[in-house]
Structures are given as structure tokens and as C-alpha cells.
């Protein structure tokens, strides 16, 4: 049966061929110091998946061989918990690539769930390497943030943001980019990104003396942990209706999978991190999985992007991507 998203594309005559491979997004570990209620990765302290040393080397090799891939985007779990995180960042920066780290803030204090060793060196390391930091802060108030990410997360996040500000992140004129990520704390769509960014800026500056560069609004994906919550609370069908009713052709045309390749801890390739978590890996004509060990951008540009009902999350309202709204 055709999925809801593909049906909507067909009805409106929209095609989504890949445009480029300009971002390599690596999900290097599903281990995380947190276990957020909306997490599409189902990440938690109990997860053990890690990209191998060979996988790390292969990713750096791909970056070296393919200069058109301008951005390395590191995610997880908490990517800092990967034993070769430092090597990966340094390697990519030595190749003069833009490096984005999806940093959950609290890992600075919690560190590795196994060792409890804090990682308070991270702000200085990020600054020294010149990486861009993208951090989830679901709201500018404690209530929603802790409801989603766990008790005490808001106050810890504010302290972590102070540390990032102290080394220049989010401070105008420093060139150190600190993006915050908002996502709804339930089955509703994000408010318009620009107006919410203004609210965040006012509240965080006035109440907490925190600065940041920009805000990304991201729609919750109806998969894994969030889908389970929707189903348990009897809200899944209503949420899918909402996403479908808010289908925006302009947002559909700008979906991030047209320009990005996602890599999992086994080196397999996907259209995006959501498809990765759903196991929708890319396949070659002979049915074998596409991997980072046999990376061919020309072949990847000829692929058909794998679509599903969940893609409606990226096309609703102002659109949603790892870089926030898309229209």
C-alpha cells in the first residue's frame, strides 16, 4: 500500500529526486546520558551501538575523497560518548569541513553513563576546533523541558549554555555558532520559527543571561518512542491527520533527504536519520546495502528516496529538518 506522504506527492504532482550529497550525517552511537520521551532514536544509557574504528576511518576517507561534501553532522545518542569522537571531529576539521555536533548540553555534567566521568572539557574543545553546536532546549521554561527530557534537565542545560557562552558560543561577533532546537512537547506543530526565536531570545537573555545564535523548530516524528506514546494515549490517528492536513508543498520540496546522506553505526547508508531508525537502508541494484565502505555519490544521486507516512512530519506547516523550518 502506498504511504500517505507518497500519495500526497502524487496527488499534487511533486517529485523528490536527490539534489546533492553535501552533508554526511553520522549517527555514531545510540548511547545517551538521557532517555527523552520523544526520542526517535530510542537512545538511552543502556544502548551500546557504536560506529567501529574502521567506520570512523571510512567516513574520514569519504570526506577526503569527496570535497563536495561540505558538512559533517555528528549525532546520536550523545555523539560525545563515542570513544573516537575527538578523532572524528579533528579529522574532519583538518580536512576543512564544517562540523556540526548535536550536543545535548547535559552530557557536559553527566558524562558517560557507565563511568560518570563528566565531560566539562567539551565547550573548550568545540571552540578550539571551531565546530558548530546544535543543542536541544525544547522550551525556554523548565516545565516543558523537564517534562520531555527529564527532571533537572532545564537547570543543567542553562548551566551548560553559560559554559558555551563563556567560550564565545552564541555571542555575536565571535563567529561561534550555537543553535538551539525547539520541538513540541506533544502532538502539535511548532509555532513559527521566527516568532519563537524572539520569545526564546527575550526569555533566555532576561531571565537566565543566556545567548544563542538561532533557533531551529523541529516537528516530532511519529516513530519509535513518540509513536508509542501517541498510540498509548490514543492520539496517533489524530496526529497523523494533523500532519496530513498541514501538508505544505513548499516544505515537501525542501526535505533534507534531497541533500544529505545518513550513516548508522554499522556504516549503512540512509536518506535521513528517521529512515535509519526505521531500518529503511539504501540498497544497490543487487539488493545489497549501500555502505560508507563503498561510497559512490554518483550512484547515490540516482537513487529513489525511501518515503513513508512519517515523512509528513517534514512537510507539515513551515517544514522540519535537522536545520529547523524549511520554508
Amino acid at each position: 500500500m502506498t504511504d500517505l506522504f507518497s500519495r500526497e506527492l502524487e496527488r499534487r504532482g511533486i517529485a523528490l529526486p536527490p539534489r546533492a550529497v553535501d552533508t554526511l550525517q553520522l549517527n555514531i552511537t545510540r548511547r545517551c546520558n538521557q532517555a527523552c520521551r520523544h526520542c526517535h532514536v530510542d537512545a538511552s544509557p543502556a544502548r551500546t551501538e557504536m560506529l567501529s574504528a574502521e567506520g570512523v576511518a571510512a567516513c574520514l576517507d569519504v570526506l577526503e575523497r569527496h570535497p563536495q561534501i561540505g558538512t559533517l553532522d555528528l549525532t546520536g545518542g550523545a555523539p560525545e560518548l563515542h570513544p573516537q569522537f575527538t578523532q572524528l571531529v579533528e579529522g574532519a576539521r583538518a580536512l576543512d569541513r564544517r562540523v556540526i555536533v548535536r550536543h545535548n548540553l547535559t552530557v557536559q555534567f553527566d558524562g558517560d553513563p557507565a563511568t560518570k566521568q563528566p565531560m566539562d572539557h567539551l565547550p573548550a574543545f568545540f571552540a578550539q576546533q571551531g565546530v558548530e553546536v546544535v543543542s536541544s532546549l525544547p522550551y525556554y521554561q523548565e516545565y516543558f523541558t523537564d517534562a520531555q527530557r527529564g527532571s533537572g534537565v532545564f537547570s543543567k542545560s542553562i548551566e551548560a549554555l553559560h559554559r558555551l557562552n563563556a567560550v564565545g558560543y552564541g555571542v555575536p561577533g565571535t563567529g561561534r555558532v550555537l543553535s538551539l532546537v525547539y520541538n513540541p512537547v506533544g502532538p502539535y506543530l511548532p509555532a513559527p520559527q521566527a516568532s519563537l526565536e524572539a520569545d526564546y531570545r527575550k526569555a533566555l537573555e532576561q531571565q537566565f543571561d543566556v545567548q544563542f545564535t538561532n533557533l531551529f523548530t523541529i516537528t516530532n516524528m511519529p516513530i519509535h518512542r513518540f509513536r508509542l506514546h501517541l498510540e498509548k494515549s490514543g492520539q496517533y490517528a489524530a496526529y497523523m491527520d494533523k500532519l496530513l492536513a498541514a501538508f505544505n508543498p513548499a516544505a515537501a520540496g525542501n526535505v533534507m533527504c534531497r541533500d544529505l546522506i545518513s550513516v548508522d553505526h554499522l556504516g549503512r547508508l540512509y536518506d535521513c536519520d528517521f529512515n535509519q531508525q526505521l531500518g529503511l537502508h539504501l540498497q544497490r541494484d543487487d539488493g545489497t546495502p549501500e555502505t560508507i565502505f563503498d561510497f559512490d555519490p554518483a550512484r547515490l544521486l540516482r537513487r529513489s528516496i525511501r518515503l513513508g507516512d512519517h515523512c509528513l512530519g517534514c512537510s507539515a506547516g513551515g517544514g522540519s529538518s535537522c536545520g529547523g523550518a524549511t520554508v
Binding site: F144, P184, P190, A191, S195
Partner: protein, 111 residues
């Protein structure tokens, strides 16, 4: 006993045009123009007003719809609760203001 208000029924709002299509069409056009876009008031401000009225008019459908609308336009729970307090104080004030009528009548009755 069945309930008069079922969450699922909110989806049937469009059915109010069943026996008066053109009137419903005009209403929804007007409704969309007023609530669906920023004007002299932002969509957020309008959603907060609508949330307050939803409470004073005691409409469960509207409370659900405008709680969501407030969140989707960026209102926070403090703002939403304060809007409900505005509705509550208006109700209380209106009730108390009618004591003037009571006192007027009392003055008339008392020798």
C-alpha cells in the same frame, strides 16, 4: 448514558453546513479570516482570547482546540492560564456588577 461532548465530534464541525451550506461557507470564511492570520492582533493573541472565551462559554471542543492553537502559536502555559483568569475575573466582575441592580431594587423596596 452517552455524553453530549465527545472529542471525536470536533472533527464534525464542518458538518454544520448540512442544512445551510451557504451560511456555513460564509461563516468558515469569516472564521478563517479572523483567526487564521496575523492582523492588528497576532495569531497568538487571538488564540489566547479564544481560549479565554472557550472557558467562559464552557465549550469543551473549543478548550481542546484553542489549548492546541495556543501552543502552536507559541503561547506558554503561564500566558494561557492568565487568559483563563481574565475570563474568570470578567465573569466575577459581571456577576458583582449586577449587585448594583440588586441594590437599586432593594432601595426601591425598602421603606
Amino acid at each position: 448514558m452517552s455524553s453530549y461532548y465527545e472529542s471525536e465530534d470536533l472533527k464534525k464541525f464542518g458538518d454544520i453546513g448540512r442544512h445551510a451550506g451557504p451560511l456555513a461557507e460564509e461563516f468558515f470564511k469569516y472564521y478563517g479570516m479572523v483567526t487564521g492570520a496575523d492582523g492588528a492582533l497576532t495569531r497568538r493573541e487571538k488564540a489566547l482570547i479564544a481560549l479565554a472565551i472557550s472557558h467562559s462559554e464552557k465549550c469543551p471542543y473549543c478548550i481542546d482546540a484553542y489549548t492546541t492553537a495556543c501552543l502552536e502559536t507559541g503561547a506558554n502555559p503561564e500566558q494561557m492560564m492568565e487568559a483563563v483568569h481574565v475570563a474568570a475575573t470578567m465573569k466575577a466582575g459581571i456577576t458583582l456588577a449586577h449587585a448594583i441592580q440588586m441594590n437599586n431594587h432593594l432601595d426601591k423596596l425598602v421603606l
